[in-house]
Amino acid sequence: MSDSVDRQMFTVRLELPDRPGELRRALEPIAEHGGNLRSVFHERGNLTPRGHIPVEVDLAATPEQLEAIVTALRDADVTVVRAGSQYYTEEVTAILFGQGIDGDISETLTSIEQSTDATVRDVTLAAPEGAGGLSSARVHLATENEETAETLATLQEIAEKRGLSVVEPLTTGESA
């Protein structure tokens, strides 16, 4: 198994809280699931917007082992941003409504991208009352890795400042 011909090199990008023991805790599942650790690049001092430390881990593993490692990391509440070539993103849809959304939608979107890790995928406006009237906007956001709740909270803040309301998606459960 350990010398499987399917073994490849993967880069796993993690974000760890700046606390003693976090790195060790993050590396344990790799060995446990048969991964062979090749290098660890611990970017101390280079904090993410959320105040975490980015860590890049190079390892050799089969694709199956990689999957098991990522699952185990997740189960241990370790933030996995990227594994192999695959970025983990979640798409979130929200609807904003209020007076004159059409006028300042681009500013609102810029504000969302600046204040969160989310990327605005697309926006659809509906302004049946014409410019400046009561209108709505549907926004598709791509958020990095399990940051949905944080992104939505920030979206609420931004909307509130602009006098807009947000209809959030139901983010848990089968019917979300």
Binding site: A127, V167, P169, S175
Partner: protein, 314 residues
């Protein structure tokens, strides 16, 4: 069992009507000022007819009816907020007399749950309140069966009026005001719809669920509430284009209790239409349970009360 029924609105009347079918005897009925008492059992038709014709349930006072002899007090008077009076007083008096209490009135368990529990602990009587959340849907008996500690979250559509309005706005592209007027015309919405459309009613139900499921006590003030009255038709249209719809959803889990409009899958379990309610339970060992049905109405709510009475008999 001998029942004293407080409240002669849709629910109270339905209890008086259905009691006999379930083997109970109504010995007293009280509305806000008058009462009817008969230790051998009141004739339901006589009481209901008097209420219809003369606006009184009988020639006694409400206090006399409350003071009469009974096994179970059924509290179905209109829900009041804050100190939940006079319903809380009725509950307290019944428990002081070591009688059981069945609530349809949400006030005591939504606003003063700890007080109710404290009184219950000192009494031989027990308090049940299946009828307070989602009418005929067996919410608390489901939680009892699964085990409160094994229910990790409850969410759902808990107000039929708001759901009816959102359904109509979606189906016909109506503005909120238009859909509300329609709901009022057919008696689905009250003349003053605030309680339903601003989310207060759903929030009280969520507070009760929070009280049953969580360690801490919740009241209306602890629920984050947003209503539906500001939602434009264009928002529903955008949702629909995307395969979703908007529903007023109540959520109870370890992160708290909240009520607000949410995007849900257009064809998903939670997207019930019309006045339907749905309650979704997340459980530790049994996955997701969904129960939908009629969340309001006299006979529906009275059916939940009959279920509580059966439990008290056992």
């Amino acid at each position: 069992m001998k029942l004293a029924v407080v409240g002669a609105g849709a629910v109270g009347k339905a209890v008086v009507e259905l009691a006999e079918e379930y083997g109970h005897t109504v010995t007293a009925v009280a509305d806000s000022s008058t009462g009817a008492i008969d230790a051998n059992g009141l004739d339901s038709e006589t009481v209901l007819q008097r209420k219809r014709n003369d606006g009184v349930v009988g020639s006694a006072t409400a206090q006399e009816a409350l003071d009469s002899s009974y096994d179970v007090l059924v509290e179905a008077s209109p829900t009041t907020l804050d100190d939940a009076q006079p319903a809380f007083g009725h509950v307290q008096t019944a428990l002081d007399r070591d009688r059981d209490v069945v609530l349809a009135n949400k006030g005591p368990v939504a606003e003063r749950y700890a007080d109710v529990q404290a009184r219950e602990r000192e009494s031989e009587g027990r308090v049940r309140f299946e009828a307070t959340v989602a009418g005929a849907i067996p919410v608390f008996s489901t939680i009892d069966n699964v085990g409160a500690k094994q229910v990790t979250a409850v969410r759902g559509v808990l107000n039929g009026t708001a759901n009816f309005i959102l359904s109509r706005m979606t189906a016909e592209g109506l503005a909120y005001e238009h859909a509300l007027a329609e709901a009022q015309d057919i008696g689905v919405a009250e003349t003053d719809p605030t309680f339903d459309v601003e989310g207060t009613d759903a929030a009280l139900k969520c507070a009760i669920l929070g009280n049953v499921l969580m360690e801490t006590e919740f009241t209306l003030d602890d629920v984050s509430v947003t209503g539906i009255s500001e939602i434009p038709a264009s928002a529903l249209e955008l949702a629909q284009q995307d395969g979703s719809t908007i529903r007023l959803i109540g959520e109870v889990d370890d992160s708290g209790v909240r009520v607000g409009p949410r995007l849900v899958d257009e064809h998903g379990t939670l997207a019930v239409t019309g006045t339907q309610n749905i309650v979704q339970f997340e459980t530790t060992h049994a996955g997701t349970l969904n129960i939908s049905g009629r969340g309001a109405g006299g006979p529906e709510t009275a059916t939940a009360i009959m279920g509580d009475l059966r439990e008290l008999e056992n």
